[in-house]
Amino acid sequence: MVDLVVIDRTGAEHKFAAAPGMSLMETIRDQGIYDIKALCGGSCSCATCHVYVDSEAPLSAMSEDEDDLLDGTSERQKNSRLACQVILAEGMAPLHVIIAPED
């Protein structure tokens, strides 16, 4: 299991552990946290699952498409990711996630 702390747009903190294999986007959405729209269903075609992620271990590398989509948002920070592109893996370090403001 991967430990997660997710801060939603109301500032509320959600602490939970999630099974590996799913994307961070699906994990947050299925937890009942509303703010992730994820309109393209995780195909890296929009930027409606934008989050800020901190972890003690490096995350998977970012594709050019993800980088370009994040560039198109007005809220990009250095720890910006599209949650659909971060896959939870066994043994992963805990993730601290803040859902980015709506673009």
């Binding site: 299925d30 309109l39 393209c40 269903g41 929009c46 370009d68 994040l70 560039d71 198109g72 007005s74």
Partner: protein, 409 residues
């Protein structure tokens, strides 16, 4: 009689999003979704892509896992088609004859595939692709390579052609217009997409006029064109658009025709009755104020959010930028804005390198763009279309200059 404070008819992208948004907004009344099929809300785009290819399970296509709806106190009744609405008594009638009362109603039934009326159109193995049942029926045909005819060169038809080629089928696409994607894309994109499909072995017939289907033992065996040509076919997939499912609303007196008319808050002309998604005709600020119906996940979602806000007493108008995507082979197509009424189309990037964008301008302002493997332009272009930016046409046509640096001086 059962009743709910908010009754949502249709458990697709719009209906599911509206229910979720109501809870997000703190709405504590009862929310019920009546869904005509047997399924919980799911995403449709994968049906013609990775779900069809067997690369993705249905569970991963669900908009939310089953437990979510229970946790959120959103009741979903499946196999519950609505046949009539009584706006005065505030109740709907289901196909099984039962009535269901409502405080507010959201109509989110989307559309149903337009069906061919030519002889033989009711033969077995002539498919449409609209829901899971359709996708499963087609997927069952994919294991053994066969001869497939796809009717309609729109997004669904072309995505299916790509899937069928990937699985080794012989594919012919029949398009009645003189180019594919004629309804949605500029000519340069149509020609590029045609060339890509042909390079992948798809036979594309433009200006093709269908006469009939022929069959044996009740199943299709060939497609016959008006010019007499007969194309052997083991199965046929028709993708010729949808017809909005709005008859009960119109019969109840709602304004509309091709879809049901809604205002900027997604309210129909009937008090307390809203509509969202493929069937909702609306004035769109990105369509130069024209009435449009948009068939997209973006529109279904954002209209549902708009309707939910109005229902929850927090009305805010619908102003979202339209955007669309499609994946075919290794092509990533992304579009933003609506190109209707453009006076200039600029090509930027390199078609030979399979990375380019078509920019649509009206009186110097960027109103829409189509991108192929060009996500950077798509991301920048969305912001420029939203703000109605004026572009310097000669700089914008230079793919080496970042799009956001091509504003007119």
């Amino acid at each position: 009689m059962s009743a709910s404070d908010v009754l949502i008819v249709g458990g697709g992208q719009a209906g599911a999003t509206a229910a979720i948004t109501l809870r997000q907004l703190g709405f504590t009344g009862s929310v019920v979704i009546l869904e005509a099929t047997a399924e919980l809300p799911y995403e449709r785009p994968p049906l013609s892509k990775d779900y069809m290819l067997g690369q993705r399970t249905f569970e991963t296509c669900l908009i939310r896992p089953a437990r979510f709806w229970a946790e959120q106190k959103i009741d979903i009744l499946t196999n519950a088609a609505v046949t009539a609405i009584d706006p005065t008594r505030q109740q709907v009638t289901l196909a099984n004859g039962r009535n269901f009362g409502f405080g507010k109603l959201l109509w989110a039934t989307g559309g149903t595939p337009r069906r061919l009326t030519c002889p033989g159109a009711d033969l077995a193995s002539v498919f449409t692709l609209h829901d899971k049942k359709d996708a499963d029926a087609i997927a069952a045909k994919l294991d053994v390579p066969r001869r497939a005819v796809v009717i309609g060169g729109g997004y669904i038809g072309l995505e299916m052609a790509a899937v069928l080629r990937k699985r080794g089928h012989h594919v012919t696409v029949l398009e009645a217009q003189e180019r594919v994607l004629a309804r949605v894309a500029g000519e340069a994109l149509s020609r590029f997409i045609e060339a890509e499909h042909r390079a992948h072995g798809v036979e594309i017939r433009l200006g093709a006029q269908l006469r009939e289907f022929r069959g044996a033992n009740g199943a299709v065996t060939s497609v016959v064109l008006v010019n007499g040509e007969e194309l052997p076919a083991d199965f046929v997939i028709t993708g010729i658009g949808i017809v909005p499912v709005v008859a009960p609303l119109l019969a109840a007196g709602a304004a509309g025709g091709n879809g049901v008319e809604v205002d900027e808050f997604c309210a129909t002309s009937l008090p307390g009755i809203y509509a969202a998604g493929d069937g909702a005709r609306h004035h769109n600020r990105f369509a130069q104020g024209e009435w449009v119906r948009l068939e997209s996940v973006q529109n279904a979602t954002d209209q549902a959010i708009t309707a939910a806000h109005a229902i929850a007493g927090q009305a805010k108008p619908y102003e979202a930028l339209p955007w669309f995507w499609s994946n075919q082979y290794d092509l990533r197509l992304q579009s933003a804005g609506l190109n209707m009424g453009h006076d200039t189309a600029l090509l930027r990037g390199d078609q030979a390198a399979r990375s380019f964008a078509i920019l649509y301008l009206r009186e110097g302002r960027l109103i829409a763009l189509d991108c192929v493997n060009r996500t950077k332009d798509y991301a920048a272009g969305k912001a420029l279309v939203s703000s109605g930016a004026r572009l310097d046409a000669s700089r914008a046509a230079d793919g080496n200059i970042p799009l956001k640096e091509t504003l007119a001086g």
